[in-house]
């Protein structure tokens, strides 16, 4: 194992542990904080894969915005604390499905990509931006329209009905 792979293993282990605690936590706020740890480790993985711009977008959007949004959601809805209140009766079968998916994917991926290696060339933000605005202009505009539609939709949905 190279140094990169050791660091990756550390980041990945912390991220997976935090994700496991996220889906087993008995307190919803703790779950949100474990989500922060997990997303930050994913950002570290991006940095390690030399995708710098994506890593900082991950920190800004996910850790900065989406988690705050989720915490607001938790704050506005009263959630009871405890395993029975947060989990349903399908824990066993869900665990079987999840482990089955993981085992199947791992076998397939190991079999296919055992010897493949990533050549860690840096991706400069300027090149990523030039790519984005040369070849993906239309999808970019569509995403901006989607965000506008989501904004209006969220306001319409969450607004209190006025007595007419």
């Amino acid at each position: 194992m190279t140094l990169h792979e050791w660091i990756f293993s550390g980041l990945g282990a912390v991220g997976i542990l935090a994700a496991v605690r996220l889906v087993t936590a008995r307190n919803v706020v703790h779950a949100a904080l474990f989500l922060v740890v997990s997303l930050a480790m994913v950002a570290g993985v991006y940095l390690l894969l030399a995708a710098e711009f994506v890593a900082w977008v991950q920190v800004l959007i996910y850790v900065g915005a989406i988690v705050v949004l989720l915490l607001f959601g938790l704050m506005l809805t009263r959630a009871p604390i405890g395993r029975e209140a947060l989990d349903n009766q399908q824990r066993g079968i869900s665990a079987v499905v999840a482990v089955g998916v993981l085992a199947g994917l791992s076998v397939l991926l190991w079999d296919t990509f055992r010897v493949s290696e990533i050549d860690l060339a840096t991706s400069r933000t300027a090149e990523v931006g030039a790519n984005l605005f040369e070849s993906f202009v239309l999808p970019f505009e569509v995403v901006s329209f989607l965000l506008l539609a989501a904004l209006i939709g969220a306001i319409v949905l969450a607004r209190k009905e006025e007595a007419s």
Binding site: A19, L22, V42, I118
Partner: protein, 111 residues
């Protein structure tokens, strides 16, 4: 130099944990968090394959798509932000009408 299986197995593990969360959680906000985990797993895959395949691409003819994987990741992040906004608006609306956000008690369309 890093072997491609490391990010792929990491992403597969995150995805499986997200599946468990979606299936086993009752609270609507926790289900949304598990969906975020699954989206992140897909993003890790996109970035890893972009970095893996970039060395093999011909920069002359494919100059516009050299970073397609990373740009798709940015799009997925933007769509995830929109999805969380709408999802939380729906959760808050359900909470206001039904006094609960447990997804198994919201069964109006179930028979």
């Amino acid at each position: 130099m890093i072997r491609l299986v490391f990010p792929l197995i990491f992403s597969a593990a995150l995805f499986s944990i997200g599946i468990y969360g979606v299936l086993a959680r009752r609270n609507g906000v926790l289900v949304l968090m598990s969906i975020e985990l699954m989206l992140n797993a897909v993003n890790v895959n996109l970035v890893a394959f972009n970095q893996y395949l970039r060395a093999t691409l011909d920069p002359g003819s494919l100059a516009g798509e050299l970073f397609a994987g990373q740009i798709f990741t940015l799009f997925v992040i933007a769509v995830a932000a929109a999805e969380v906004g709408i999802g939380l608006a729906i959760v808050i609306l359900i909470y206001r009408n039904r006094e609960t956000i447990n997804v198994d008690e919201v069964n109006l369309l179930k028979w």
